[in-house]
């Protein structure tokens, strides 16, 4: 299936990583923005068709991925293929690294923002659950601002097998919960971790909290209970990722 991407950063990343999957670039009339000019240049080098002077594709959804930088220009890009969860852990965990699992995250902005941050901090892989989770739509690609092209991901029915595989690969499995007594800051950063984030409203499933090696929280201090999950994930990655 092909996606209609509107963020030039996500298109540039796709062109860099898998140009064969970029079918077409459609530019708005007039001079393109500098980033879209970069897209056009790279597309030309790969002989990808560039069309101009078109009305924006599918105007009804023009405001959907309302993050940063949207415009009338778009690119048609094939979805990135997911990997098997076994493959994600086949990378040697030396030097120590960080993997993430997202359990039933429902907001595409959160999923996209987590991919963007994960690329920045060099997260080794992200595992997403299939049911009751935001699907990887064009909005997720655009919010990730290219991050989705750089972090390998797997989609699984539930996390139980993922947790077992992670442990077999030598990772410590950490769940995040605002009810945990241990703080993120107490975790040793010289180890490999699989860090699990739960649904925006309900947190982790009980079966998952029972299955992890440890639960941590981010030391809340104010009257609001917890952080937005993409911010919480960002803080955790900044502490634990070693690239």
């Amino acid at each position: 299936m092909s996606l209609v991407l509107r963020n030039p950063h996500s298109v540039l990343a796709a062109l860099q990583m898998r140009p064969e999957d970029v079918f077409e670039v459609r530019l708005a009339p007039g001079t393109p923005s500098p980033k879209w000019a970069d897209v056009a240049e790279l597309a030309r080098q790969h002989s990808i068709p560039i069309r101009t002077n078109l009305a924006p594709v599918d105007k009804r959804h023009a405001n959907e991925g309302k993050s940063e930088r949207t415009g009338a220009a778009v690119a048609l890009v094939r979805e990135r293929a997911d990997r098997l969860v076994d493959e994600l852990f086949a990378v040697p965990a030396d030097p120590p690294g960080l993997w993430l699992a997202l359990e039933q995250l429902q907001d595409p902005h959160n999923v996209g923002a987590i991919f963007r941050t994960a690329a920045f901090f060099g997260v080794r892989g992200i595992i997403l659950t299939r049911e009751r989770s935001a699907p990887l739509t064009a909005t997720v690609y655009d919010v990730s601002s290219g991050g989705l092209e750089f972090v390998p991901f797997a989609i699984v029915p539930s996390l139980s097998r993922t947790i077992t595989l992670a442990r077999d690969a030598g990772l410590t499995v950490i769940g995040t919960s605002e009810h945990a007594s241990r703080e993120l800051n107490d975790l040793p950063s010289d180890r490999s971790h699989l860090l699990i984030f739960g649904n925006e409203e309900f947190g982790l499933r009980r079966v998952t909290t029972e299955n992890v090696d440890e639960l941590v929280r981010l030391a809340p201090r104010g009257p609001i209970e917890s952080l937005n999950v993409s911010v919480a994930a960002g803080v955790c990655m900044s502490k634990l990722a070693r690239g």
């Binding site: 941050t117 690329a119 920045f120 901090f121 104010g222 609001i224 911010v231 690239g243």
Partner: protein
């Protein structure tokens, strides 16, 4: 308890104020309860029962806010989404503090955030939420190219909008100068800085400046900052979303302060 004899034709008089509506049980309940942001009218779904509805109606009545019982269709029309859970409120403009009022509300060793032209309401709301959770005492925003405080911001802030002091000023560089005179360290978050975040100390009065999503901090404001830090990238590519970057900075500040309590 809930007046169902709602006047017709009100929308025409008020014009299109969709962006001044907030909705959702928790957001509306917390906003009414906190009483900071004036509610002009409260709509409660005619199928809604329970303590949240009762509390909202009681408080609204005390403050002489008109309350209307509405059908699901009407509520959806006002909010332009079906996610209202039977609660909607039309809001007056958000009562931002002046800089002087804001400074009076600060503790002895304040940690504050200055947002320079933040445009995405999701980011703005998430930053208010993070600030409130991670020990930031207040936020100062400018009045140009800045996301308004609207329903989306209220929702993303998950109620923190009702508690955290927020000041709005015409001139952010002037505010930065005043803060410097008051003995603040004014810290810019910038990808271009050579100083990693973890080398900075935040134990004194601190203002963290977060810039526009695309263009960063304005050159004038940046030139006034006495320190510029970057979040070290350990991956190969990319950049951080403004709300995520702000969260990482706030966390570091909060971590340092919890290790060495301010004098």
């Amino acid at each position: 308890m809930v007046d169902s004899s709602r006047r017709r034709g009100r929308r025409e008089v008020m014009g299109n104020h969709n962006r001044c509506w907030i909705w959702g049980r928790n957001v509306v309940q917390e906003t009414v309860r906190a009483g900071r942001w004036p509610v002009l009218e409260l709509l409660i779904g005619d199928w809604v029962d329970g303590s949240a509805a009762q509390e909202c109606a009681r408080l609204a009545e005390q403050r002489q806010v008109p309350i209307y019982s509405e059908s699901e269709t009407e509520l959806t029309r006002h909010c332009r989404t079906a996610e209202h859970q039977g609660f909607a409120a039309r809001m007056a403009p958000f009562p931002c503090l002046t800089f002087d009022e804001f400074m009076k509300a600060m503790p002895r060793t304040p940690a504050i955030a200055i947002l320079d032209r933040l445009q995405d309401p999701f980011n703005f709301g998430a930053i208010i939420r993070s600030a409130s959770t991670l020990g930031i005492h207040g936020i100062i925003i400018g009045d140009r190219e800045q996301s308004d405080i609207n329903s989306q911001v209220a929702r993303s802030s998950v109620g923190a909008i009702n508690h955290l002091p927020i000041a709005r000023t015409e001139n952010l560089p002037q505010v930065a100068q005043q803060l410097l005179r008051f003995g603040f360290q004014v810290v810019a978050a910038s990808e271009k800085s050579s100083i990693p975040l973890y080398q900075a100390g935040f134990s004194g009065p601190t203002a963290i400046v977060i810039g526009n999503e695309g263009r960063g901090i304005s050159p004038e404001l940046l030139s006034l900052c006495d320190l510029s830090v970057r979040i070290p990238m350990t991956g190969q590519v990319g950049s951080l979303n403004a709300a995520v970057a702000a969260g990482i900075l706030f966390y570091e500040l909060s971590r340092q302060r919890s290790l060495s309590p301010s004098p």
